[in-house]
């Protein structure tokens, strides 16, 4: 092994340390946690996980989160695909300004939007629904999806479009049969990023929900504050929030670096 590989190795160990501790905590009993320090769980317990999988207020949190994240992913990709195509293939009045304006929405502090979002979605009667959170997260996910898809589409030569038209393809048929399969990776990466940012965001999701669509992360905050020291339960819930991310990341592992560069490498 070369010496320089020590750097990524140490870095990864540093990254894994808090995750290890969270997982270790989730298998400890409350007694063991409070009685003092132990590097490994002394008496393994699955009670914390049992609580989560049997108590509806816990497992509905997961179902709610996954529902609005999926909705958001579908909406974001559906509207971003044609827009990204327009930006990558055509010039039109105000195209650059529009592109920059989309970027500015990524910059707005979520804290700024919390209260107005609450009022807006209450006014249109969507408060405490999955679709409200899904739509709200479009604020930052749609611009992101447009950039990523535009980056990937830019790598497809324009000759492909022209050849298809010469061959007599209509636009919708060309787009779905020829173009989409060519940017599969881009769609996957864009979907991954929509998933990621919708999954990790909490401030807006919490503001827009009360009971029916409450995200898992908000259920955790409640436990942490009301029950005081249920650290094991908190750790188990936290551990379970890592799993969906770990699964989706596995599918895009080969494209992830390019995706983070917004398709522009």
């Amino acid at each position: 092994m070369q010496k320089r590989y020590l750097i990524p190795l140490i870095y990864i160990l540093f990254l894994m340390l808090p995750i290890y501790w969270l997982i270790a905590m989730s298998f400890k009993t409350t007694n063991e946690i409070l009685s003092g320090f132990s590097l490994f769980p002394q008496t393994w317990t699955f009670d914390n996980y049992k609580v989560i999988f049997t108590d509806p207020s816990w497992y509905w949190g997961y179902i709610n989160s996954i529902t609005y994240v999926t909705l958001n992913m579908v909406i974001s990709i559906a509207v971003a695909l044609p827009a990204a195509y327009a930006f990558s293939r055509y010039r039109f009045l105000g195209d650059k300004q529009l592109f920059f304006w989309l970027l500015t929405n990524r910059m707005a502090p979520a804290a700024v939007f919390a209260l107005p979002f609450f009022q807006l979605y209450s006014a249109v009667g969507l408060f405490d629904t999955h679709i409200a959170v899904a739509l709200a997260h479009c604020l930052f996910n749609v611009p992101l999806a447009v950039w990523i898809l535009e980056g990937f589409m830019g790598g497809i030569p324009k000759e492909l479009d022209e050849t298809a038209y010469v061959d007599g393809y209509s636009f919708p048929r060309f787009f779905t049969r020829i173009f989409l399969p060519n940017i599969k990776a881009g769609v996957g990466v864009a979907a991954f990023f929509c998933f990621m940012f919708s999954w990790v965001e909490l401030l807006l999701a919490k503001t827009l929900t009360a009971v029916a669509a409450k995200p898992i992360a908000a259920t955790m905050t409640k436990t942490a504050s009301s029950a005081g020291y249920e650290l094991g339960l908190l750790a188990a819930a936290g551990t379970l929030t890592i799993i969906p991310g770990a699964i989706v990341i596995y599918f895009v592992r080969n494209y992830i670096a390019r995706g983070f560069a917004l398709g522009r490498v």
Binding site: I7, V79, A86, L93, V200, R258, F260, V265
Partner: protein
């Protein structure tokens, strides 16, 4: 070359409507609040630019803004070089590449309040791994609920843990796009390691580093959930960053006018600094 086609507007229309609904209406609400005073019961009085004036003369705002700039400055100063160093040392191909990428990306996929809770569990003085290590093994008194310095170090290390991988992945994407021929040419010329970095790798990473710096600036400047869960802005006000202060004013004290004025100034600063960064870094192209 792109062709001019005004009908392309129909393609961007759905995006435009959706983002406008989410961005313009709330921003107009904020503007509306920022020029009014309310005593509840939906009664509003015209206040003009009074809130802005008061805010720009308030010490509380400047100290929160100061803390925010210190935090963001530290984050950029640590994460950007560290990210480049890790990316340079990573293997270029083989079995370990996807393993590195997946494990490194993992912290970014954890909900932000879980990140806060996780670091809380890690740093508990007597039962957390880090807290125990510091207090009982290394003998350094460490309690971030009491000591502002400890709280600051903890939120900075937490953010380094959370987001350095973004810089690593971006730099790595830039590095692997460099053709081997460049390195061979450098070898023939007898270029030093530093020269290879300075004249081959760094220029090739420029565009991705621009994205990295912009994203890290925007996100660290807008950070709320993680430090809020970890320290709640304390001890005292020592880690009350701009967002935390803003939410305190808006939802804690329900002072909508001042909070709205603060929101707009906050947003304007983010836009301005991002724009300056962006123009400076893309000037040569």
């Amino acid at each position: 070359m792109k062709t001019v086609n005004q009908r392309a507007w129909f393609f961007v229309l759905p995006v435009l409507l959706l983002v406008a609904f989410n961005a313009l209406i709330p921003i107009m609400t904020v503007v509306n609040y920022s020029v009014q005073e309310t005593f509840g019961n939906n009664l509003f009085f015209w206040e003009g630019l009074g809130w802005f004036e008061k805010l720009l003369h308030s010490d509380r705002f400047y100290s929160a803004l100061g803390r925010q700039f210190v935090f963001t400055g530290l984050i950029l100063a640590i994460e950007i070089p560290l990210g480049i160093i890790v990316a340079l040392a990573m293997p270029k191909n083989g079995f370990w590449v996807p393993v590195c990428l997946v494990t490194m990306a993992l912290p970014m996929l954890i909900p932000w309040n879980v990140v806060g809770a996780m670091w809380n569990i890690l740093t508990l003085p007597d039962i957390g791994l880090l807290g125990y290590l510091m207090n009982h093994v290394l003998g350094i008194t460490y309690d971030m609920t009491q000591n502002p310095t400890a709280a600051w170090i903890t939120i900075v290390v937490m953010d380094v843990w959370h987001w350095t991988s973004l810089v690593v992945l971006l730099s790595y994407a830039g590095l692997v796009s460099i053709p081997d021929a460049y390195y061979q040419a450098a070898k023939i010329d007898g270029a030093s390691g530093w020269a290879v970095f300075r004249y081959i790798q760094l220029p090739k990473m420029k565009s991705v580093l621009t994205i990295a710096i912009l994203l890290r600036f925007m996100d660290s400047f807008n950070i709320y959930t993680e430090p809020f869960v970890l320290t709640g802005g304390g001890p005292g006000n020592s880690t009350t960053l701009l967002s935390i202060d803003l939410v305190k004013i808006a939802l804690g004290q329900f002072d909508l006018g001042p909070a709205a004025a603060m929101s707009l100034i906050y947003f304007a600063i983010t836009l301005l600094v991002s724009w300056v960064f962006y123009t400076l870094m893309t000037k040569d192209d």
